[in-house]
Amino acid sequence: MCIDEALLSSYFDGELKEPYKSQTEEHLAHCAACRARYERLRTISEELRSDGPDEAELNRNRDVIFSRLEKKFFAEGGRKPGFWRKKVEFGLGSMITAAAGLVIVFIGGFVLFGTSPEQTSDIIPSYTIQADSQNVRFVSSDEPRGLDGYSLEEILSYLDSRGYNVDISIKGLQPVE
């Protein structure tokens, strides 16, 4: 059986591991068709590599560009990347610790110092918070209602909402004369 083309391509790049490498070599030694395919790969690679300017042409401005960069960044008085351009990285752990610390400080502030009207009036005299235990009282005067406090309709709709099936009959009523 002949070699898979993808395998041949890897072999050509020298990326094939043993034992496939030596198996491929063995196969190529006696299979003319695969040898032709291998040659074809080489031709394509050579055609690609032969395209484009030679090394000298490619490197024509190598030194010019370097001195340009050197002048820009490393010359006396050249600009260093400022503080704000510096890349700062934090790990997740340290970020969580920092966040937890902030929360503790924030809550701790309230626990330790609290807030009192005196402090507020020191800072903003015209705006003192009056809401305090001394001057806040409950205005709602709802006494718990007895069963008499509800109308029949309210009782029925409540029972209905709880899923009770209510049957009502009226006994002992005397017809009005």
Partner: protein
């Protein structure tokens, strides 16, 4: 060796070792020396301004290749129209004195033009893989790191790219399976 991009010695070392591979890769995306040089210079500027530390020289190289690749493809995407206009102006400004280029154009044989056409017609993901392979002289592992894909994905793409190139270059050259 750790590479700090703002350190003068590190910068020089990376520049010396990476310039030619960067310019070669960049040239084969944009097919224009002046533009390739501009883009490589920009990549090194970003390298410095990022103010990063790389664990090794290779890591710095991969980062730079990644940047150059993005710059080059962005340049292509910005539109050929714009490029052509710039080229027209450039040609007029130089007044046809660049006879060397004209000579090169004359010498440029059919194969070479076909190769460029075939490479340019590859979809972007295949194109970049084959450019990095043939002009960057990088192994699958490095290409995978640069493009953020797995090694086996690189293998498949290289093979597919070659297959497509083979098809479009088949033309006159007969080959036997």
């Amino acid at each position: 060796m750790e590479i700090k991009s703002t350190d003068s010695d590190s910068f020089r070392l990376v520049y010396e070792n990476c310039y030619s591979v960067l310019i070669r890769i960049c040239y084969h995306v944009v097919y224009n020396m002046d533009i390739a040089e501009d883009l490589v210079q920009e990549a090194f500027e970003r390298f410095y301004l990022k103010n990063m530390t790389f664990p090794s020289e290779d890591e710095a190289k991969y980062w730079l290749i990644k940047v150059v690749r993005n710059l080059a493809f962005n340049h292509l995407r910005r539109g050929r129209r714009e490029t052509q206009m710039v080229e027209k102006v450039r040609l007029r400004a130089s007044g046809g004195t660049n006879t060397r280029d004209a000579q090169v154009d004359l010498d440029e044989n059919e194969t070479r033009r076909e190769v460029r056409k075939a490479v340019s017609e590859l979809p972007e993901n295949l194109r970049m893989v084959i450019i990095l392979k043939e002009y960057g002289d990088l192994d699958y592992k490095a290409i995978g790191k640069i493009l953020g894909i797995s090694e086996s994905n690189v293998k498949v793409r290289v093979h597919r790219a070659r297959k497509k190139l083979e098809e479009s270059l088949a033309g006159d050259e007969a080959y036997v399976y």
